[in-house]
């Protein structure tokens, strides 16, 4: 940080902090409400395919994307709605994509697991676990070569730690000092299997082996995530190379919406504990009230706004037309 410029007034700092953390709250609430609508669409059989919900993990996507510029890159996963929204995607076009409509981000050709949007630097959600580690690292390579100072964030779940290509690209990212941040969202379960059954050693130890800067953060604490992300992004932008962030979090629902009977791999009491004691929205809401940045009714207002926004986005998507059949072989080649 520069010490040459005069220190901003304390009151201005307070206002900007209040705005910043209210915005983070709003973003998390929007993601939660988006996913509730997805759940509804899926269970009412209005949504084709599979739905992998991000509920419970909102502080990770929001804490990180709030530390990024709009032209920074992200790659996302099959559980990607939260990343896309946090990076600035609009819910109406997202829902349209989820329903396979022409107004969707991918003109209906990608669906829930493939939302991509150049305008917000979203290189695409990826349905191959670990499939985007090369793409994110390549975007960081291009950023460095072209000198455009963009950072790439590669989101993946702890399940992707089993994929060898992750280690190939981390080695290269460190050798070439690329501005890429690998964000491992450890929601504890590789689909239906606890990560302790699939993961030898430690998670960050894998990145540390390459000499990559590592950090572990409470992924339910949006302010903690944002603070670390801000530091790692600044570092990457300054040419100091890649970083690996382990964000410990929890997936409230099943691997996908249809994964209802989960007792064989995790206890209901465990789910209940995370939902009541570790909910990122509740935790951050309480903090906002404590800090007098908001009162209960202000937070309720944010929730109402988010619900209305998502309801109208769903309505837009349901009413939107499907692509015409003649588009089926468009865009196979550029």
């Amino acid at each position: 940080m520069s010490t040459v410029t005069s220190k901003p007034e304390a009151s201005r700092d307070a206002v900007s902090a209040k705005d910043k953390w209210l915005r983070a709250y709003r973003q998390m609430v929007r993601i939660r409400h988006f996913e509730e609508q997805v759940n509804e669409l899926y269970t009412r059989a209005l949504m084709p395919g599979l739905a992998h919900l991000y509920s419970g993990e909102e502080a990770v996507a929001v804490g990180i994307c709030e530390a990024l510029r709009v032209d920074d890159y992200i790659t996302s996963t099959h559980r990607g709605h939260g990343h896309c929204l946090a990076k600035g995607a609009s819910p109406d076009r997202m829902f349209a994509e989820l329903l396979g409509k022409e107004a969707g981000y991918c003109r209906g050709k990608g669906g829930s697991m493939h939302i991509a949007d150049p305008a917000t630097g979203n290189l695409g959600a990826n349905a191959i676990v670990g499939g985007s580690v090369g793409i994110a690292t390549g975007a960081a390579f291009a950023s460095k070569r072209l000198g455009n100072n963009r950072v790439a964030v590669c989101f993946f779940g702890e399940g992707a730690l089993g994929q060898g290509s992750l280690y190939e690209v981390m080695n290269l990212a460190q050798l070439w000092k690329l501005p890429v941040i690998y964000v491992c969202e450890n929601n504890l379960y590789n689909e239906y299997t606890h990560f302790s059954e699939t993961t030898a050693g430690t998670i960050v130890g894998r990145a540390a082996a390459f000499g990559i800067e590592t950090a572990v953060v409470d992924g339910q604490d949006v302010r903690a995530v944002n603070a670390i992300a801000t530091r790692l992004v600044q570092r990457a932008r300054a040419g100091e190379g890649p970083a690996f962030l382990q964000a410990d979090t929890y997936r409230y629902g099943g691997h996908h919406v249809g994964d209802i009977n989960r007792e064989y791999y995790r206890a209901k009491s465990e789910e209940q504990h995370w939902k009541t004691e570790r909910d990122p929205i509740k935790l951050h809401g309480s903090w906002l009230i404590e800090q007098e940045h908001a009162d209960t009714s202000a937070l309720e207002g944010i929730a109402t706004e988010a619900r209305t926004e998502m309801e109208s986005a769903v309505k837009f998507a349901i009413e939107a037309p499907y692509p015409s059949i003649d588009q089926v072989d468009e865009d196979v080649y550029a």
């Binding site: 890159y73 790659t75 969707g104 981000y105 991918c106 003109r107 209906g108 050709k109 990608g110 493939h114 991509a116 949007d117 150049p118 290189l123 695409g124 990826n126 191959i128 499939g131 985007s132 580690v133 090369g134 793409i135 994110a136 690292t137 390549g138 975007a139 960081a140 390579f141 291009a142 950023s143 070569r145 072209l146 455009n148 790439a152 060898g164 290509s165 190939e168 690209v169 080695n171 290269l172 050798l175 070439w176 468009e330 865009d331 196979v332 080649y333 550029a334």
Partner: protein, 328 residues
Amino acid sequence: MPERELTFAQAVREALAEEMRRDSSVCIFGEDVAEAGTPFKVLSGLVEEFGAQRVLDTPISEAGFTGIGVGAAMTGLRPVVDIMFGDFLTLTMDQMVNQAAKAHYMSGGHWKVPMVIRTTLGATRRSAAQHSQSLHAWFSHVPGLKVVLPSTPYDAKGLLKTAIRDENPVIFFEDKMMYKLKGPVPAEDYTIPLGVADVKRKGDDITLVATSSMVQVALGAANILEREGISAEVVDPRTTWPLDEKTIIESAKKTSRVIVLDEGYGRYGVTAELAAVIAEGAFYDLDAPVKRMGAMHVPIPFSPPLEDVTVPTEETVTEAARRLCNKT
């Protein structure tokens, strides 16, 4: 003035150098591509001209650096990724098939992947089963990829320049036994469109549709056949996708007899596709079933006499042509 001649390897290098001078977003990465210039010495001199920022040696991590190529291509560069032996393409399959081939379509046309994979094919180099395969059929099978198979130095330069300028992922297969083959190559800038076949030799009695390494074999067979009074036409598709079906079908209709030749495995391979295209497009003009000739359905053996019988030769092609023309 006599035509300038270059080897196949020199033609590839010249195409790369010209495109790198023309467009600063073109860069090369792969194993031993910089000072070593690859084991085949195809890239010698490029790092000296363009520097280590544009010609980058990578670790032995084909999946990793191919994936980096995909991401870099999506975000403003035109990477030319070097996969030393075509056999190692197996290590890149997710990146090529699930990522590069689909990014444009899955994103509704928003993202593009203008990258080239340069790699090799071909047996008879005594390299055994993991360094001798011709796996281009796999990539020709996948929508979103283009597959280029140059057979002369002239084609190599013109097709590679087009591949680098293309907005899609293109796999460029070089026959490693052909690197020393000499042929005329203009010094000036020229490109050859993808999807346009080249009639390498005109003929009337039989068509030999041949790709890559098999083009020289077909031309050699055509010379022998000519002495025996059989006039063979040699058609080189030059790209398996896009495929110039029209030129192939027209030649088949004209001669009424066809052998399709490709160094990939015969079963479920390029020859099967070419034969089907001809059957669909020229069935009523054919006087004989289309004959397919490809690599024998075995892992390529090391022992020279064994390896030599796994691929079509001038002699086996000539013999097959005689039978097809009822002149045995």
